[in-house]
């Protein structure tokens, strides 16, 4: 097979002599195509190039649950949105400024989201009669004037890719598969992105297929050159690096950050990590990531079902590992009985729930925050545990560490409520110094703790209320534990009414007793009468909406909860300091319900359960109304 020669690309930092260069402060691009068109990869590469340039970034993939829905149909459309700017941003952007549509379905599915004047780059080769008919276009929208309010750039993407690879020795079909790289090359030229990381990526990805490395590089080059020469694109854009805190960054998704947080917890606790997991969207990537890091002493077990996954994790935890199970809502439902056992056994366990739209199978690739009630209450008996939630993709790292801290310090199961929005979204992550991460080391019980030389497995630490973690293999501490009610201190089976009452209240007090940081309030104007209270992944859109309001002179305060159980000690005081408290959630008001019940504050719920994250604009409009009209 002939090697395709790839000439050096023109430096993206230099202005092209023939094109005008415009400065922008922010851009939102959406790559959309068929599930098989490689749009996630294209978006991912563009993001990586953009990160290298030092822009702040936020991304959001959107794909169907079906692996390959029928080609060219609306259900098969997969998209990836990237928002980048020369200042710090909080969301993947509400409306794309640029849409790359690889076929009529991608165009049709995404045009409604575009603002007037948006650029649309379409792959004209796919606008055949047959493909148009598949999505119900009687006439091509490229010809009937229906796109007149946008700036349409028709590009024969497929045929130009095939043309560029004519000498590659690849079949036409194989050559066509590189069309996403042509699109990436064109967009990289248009936004002056550095291309080196993509070249390195292609070399890694196709290390065993040099002909594909060459072909993809050539397609990228062809797209880049097309931008430079065609008259269809008269302007090239630059977005200056954002002023970000000094340090080393990488772009990271929530699931990857969460996995790394668990690795970090294992290292900082000096305990082996044992992950029991059953594949489930959108949590499986955590299993994939952790399975690569065995050198840290991490065992990953793909169990026969969700119940076995948590069972094995609990068994490992009993043996002295940091036991973890990762899943989504349907999996947590199945794990409920074992979580209750872990509560009775008072052993550390981290349960990660990457929430998706429910109930039942629901919409597995769409986001929701509707598992809060299940996390707080979804078990038989009085079965309290700790609940934490990350607020952004990179924050998943810190949330995982915090979940492990609570589990290990207080010997309790902890549910970590991530969701599809943060799990698959990405943003730049300022890498922490390992030495600054919390020390999570624990001490196993080594000798009997009773007066008479007996070992009392339920004698508590006066400070943490945690019982000793006495692992098998420790001589002299042989003891039996189980799901039956235990006598205080001795852990022997007990049906004594007073003891049960005491133990139930003790288990509740144990969780209430957990020390968590106070919730912080962001209120730069210091005279706000309205507080927005959120939790989990809504931090970005709420924050962006609050900033927009403040810029328009409307004061508003924002508080965001990392800890849902126990709630921060200062929360009641914070709530009482405002005339109005609004709680936006991607559910029907689950946190609002908790706040009302616990603090008797008549909070205003604002709810969206569409499977999509809030847009900043939606929240801005709602909050504006509250701030102005009370």
């Amino acid at each position: 097979m002939a090697e395709v020669d790839t000439p050096a690309l023109s430096s993206p930092q230099l202005d092209s002599p023939v094109k005008r260069v415009e400065q922008l402060d922010r851009v939102v691009i959406r790559f959309a195509g068929d599930s098989g068109d490689g749009m996630q990869l294209t978006g991912d590469r563009f993001t990586s190039e953009t990160a290298q340039l030092g822009n702040d970034i936020s991304t959001l993939p959107n794909f169907p649950a079906e692996i390959r829905a029928p080609a060219g149909t609306l259900p098969g459309v997969s998209s990836f949105q990237v928002h980048f700017a020369d200042y710090d941003i909080l969301t993947p952007g509400d409306q794309p400024n640029v849409l790359v549509a690889m076929n009529p379905a991608a165009l049709k599915a995404n045009v409604p989201d575009l603002p007037t004047g948006a650029d649309i780059i379409v792959n004209t080769d796919e606008f055949t009669k047959r493909n148009l008919a598949k999505v119900g276009y009687a006439v091509s929208p490229l010809e009937d004037g229906s796109l007149s309010e946008y700036s349409v750039h028709p590009v024969a993407l497929t045929s130009m890719t095939v043309g560029a690879l004519a000498d590659s020795g690849l079949s036409k079909k194989d050559a066509e598969r590189s069309k996403n790289m042509f699109a990436l090359g064109l967009l990289s030229w248009m936004y002056s992105r550095p291309h080196e990381s993509t070249m390195r990526f292609l070399e890694r990805k196709f290390a065993k297929r040099p002909e594909l490395v060459a072909a993809n590089k050539a397609a990228f080059q062809a797209g880049w050159n097309f931008g430079e020469t065609t008259e269809s694109f008269s302007v090239r854009y630059e977005i200056k690096p954002a002023r970000m805190r000094p340090g080393t960054y990488r772009n990271i998704t929530g699931n990857a950050a969460l996995a790394l947080g668990l690795v970090a917890a294992s290292v900082r606790a000096r305990l082996p990590l044992f992950l029991g997991a059953y594949p489930i969207t959108p949590a499986s990537d955590i299993l994939h990531e952790l399975s690569k890091h065995k050198r840290f002493g991490i065992t990953t077990m793909q169990a026969e079902d969700e119940i076995a996954a948590i069972g094995a994790a609990l068994g490992a935890s009993y043996g002295g590992s940091l036991g973890v199970t990762t899943t989504s809502g349907p999996g947590v439902a199945l794990k409920g009985e074992t979580i209750s056992l872990a509560i009775a056994l008072e052993l550390p366990l981290v349960i990660v729930d990457v929430q998706r739209a429910g109930p039942s199978t629901g919409m597995p690739t769409k986001t929701e925050q509707a598992d809060l009630n299940m996390a707080l209450y979804g078990r038989h008996g009085e079965a309290p545990l700790a609940v934490v939630a990350p607020k952004s993709p990179s924050d998943c790292f810190h949330a995982a560490l915090e979940a492990a801290r609570i589990a290990l310090t207080y010997r309790t199961p902890v549910i970590l409520l991530s969701d599809n929005y943060v799990a698959n979204g990405s943003e730049p992550w300022l890498l922490p110094e390992v030495s600054e991460l919390p020390d999570l080391s624990v001490e196993f019980a080594a000798e009997p703790n009773g007066d008479d030389g007996r070992f009392l497995p339920y004698l508590r630490d006066p400070e943490t209320m945690a019982r000793p973690w006495a692992i098998p293999g420790t001589p002299g501490l042989e003891h039996r534990i189980g799901g039956l009610e235990k006598a205080d201190k001795t852990g022997d089976i007990s049906y004594d009414p007073a003891n049960h009452e005491f133990m139930v209240r003790t288990r509740a007090a144990r969780i209430e007793h957990i020390t968590v940081p106070d919730v912080e309030v962001e209120d730069p104007d210091e005279n706000s009468r309205v507080l927005v209270l959120g939790w989990g992944s809504t931090y970005g859109p709420i924050g962006a909406a609050c900033r927009a309001l403040r810029q328009r002179g409307l004061p508003i305060a924002q508080a965001h909860l990392r800890h849902l159980a126990p709630l921060p000690a200062n929360l009641g005081e914070v709530l009482s300091a405002y005339d109005k408290v609004i709680v936006p959630e991607m559910n029907l008001g689950q946190l609002a319900h908790v706040i009302r019940a616990k603090y008797l504050v008549d909070v205003l719920p604002f709810n969206q359960v569409s499977g999509l994250p809030f847009t900043a604009a939606t929240l801005e409009n709602m909050l504006e109304d509250v701030v102005k009209n009370g």
């Binding site: 960054y249 082996p272 002493g297 094995a312 590992s321 890498l431 390992v434 022997d492």
Partner: protein, 343 residues
């Protein structure tokens, strides 16, 4: 136990060392007492320190077992003991992990975990006390109760066919499969010995009498007047014969897939080491609900890498490649991929 990673004790332990301070609370006359005594009597043979032995159970009468053993123990939840024990065993190769379960616990609510533990060949010794009834919930039929069994929940007789636990285990390609009887202490302990020596999953079905809800279920093969006509004792390397003067033979009829019992004829020679599970499966099919021809002993004992060993090997190989302190490795991991620095 046949694992180099489990330590041995220089101290000679006795049965008494394995008795916990808890009062045993099974019904008087329950077969579980005999099994408990046999296990406690056998444990010292292992020379494993008590602290390195763990009993994990599910729910049911038999699952109270761990409370009575002065080792580490967990009385977990219904059916999940094999899953919990898998996590413990895979992460702690220095432990001897025993699962105690019953016919409802292992074959009904926990059926999935049992077959997957067996197919993985986790280094667990699984003791299934089969009394063919639900005792703790007071007398409903179980997945090993005979078809047509009249119980509280089946006044007109049960309509479901029972599992043959050994056939099920062999279908999952368990590497060690045996059957014994609660009241035959010598045989029970010989089977436990073989199970303990086995590397990987050892599945032992113990016929156990529930004298309250299913009394006499196994009387045909226990009563000295009927036993010899129905009980087939499997002995490694010996022809399989039974009955007065070895009158009956287990034979392999030409052109047949299975084995059958006939008077006289060339008895096949028992070999638990036959790799193909079809042989042990054919043996397991000799016994049905009626116990008319019931083999006991070790049906299958073959070598296959255990899940635990494979998992530990992967960990060791990966760790051998690693350099630096854990904190340095973590810093390297966090900083991997495409990074950029802002000054």
């Amino acid at each position: 136990m046949a694992s180099p990673s489990i330590p041995l004790t220089p101290v000679k332990l006795t049965a008494k060392d394995f008795k916990s301070d808890q009062e045993v609370r099974w019904c008087p006359g329950c077969g579980d007492y005999a099994i408990l005594a046999a296990v406690q009597g056998f444990m010292p043979e292992l020379n494993i320190p008590r602290e390195n032995i763990v009993f994990v159970s599910g729910i049911g009468c038999s699952s109270r077992f761990p409370y009575y053993m002065n080792t580490y123990g967990m009385h977990s939840i219904h059916g999940r003991a094999p899953a919990i024990a898998t996590g413990l065993s895979a992460s702690r190769p220095d432990l001897s992990v025993w699962v105690v379960t019953g016919d409802g616990d292992a074959l009904s609510i926990g059926g999935n975990h049992l077959i997957h533990a067996l197919r993985r060949n986790v280094n667990l010794k699984i003791l299934l006390f089969n009394n063919r009834i639900y005792g703790l919930t007071k007398g409903q039929y179980s997945p090993t109760s005979e078809l047509g069994k009249i119980t509280k929940s089946t006044p007109a007789g049960s309509a479901d066919s029972p599992f043959n636990p050994l056939s099920l285990a062999l279908g999952a390609e368990a590497t060690f499969v045996a059957r014994t009887i609660d009241s035959d202490r010598k045989h029970l302990q010989s089977v436990l010995r073989a199970a303990a020596e086995h590397k990987g999953s050892a599945f032992v079905e113990i016929y156990q009498n529930c004298n309250i809800f299913n009394d006499g279920a196994f009387e045909l093969i226990k009563d000295s007047t009927t036993r010899d006509d129905h009980l087939i004792r499997l002995e490694q390397g010996q022809p399989i014969t039974f009955g007065p003067d070895g009158r009956y033979s287990v034979v392999h009829p030409e052109g047949s897939f299975g084995l059958k019992v006939q008077e006289g004829g060339p008895a096949i020679v028992h070999d638990a080491g036959v790799d193909d599970p079809a042989y042990a499966f054919a043996l397991s099919r000799l016994s049905g609900s009626d116990l008319n021809t019931t083999p006991i002993g070790v049906f299958r004992s073959v070598e296959r890498p255990s899940y635990d060993d494979l998992v530990q090997k992967q960990l060791e190989d990966a760790k051998a490649q690693a350099t630096g302190t854990p904190d340095e490795m973590l810093a390297g991991l966090l900083n991997s991929g495409d990074t950029w620095t802002i000054l």
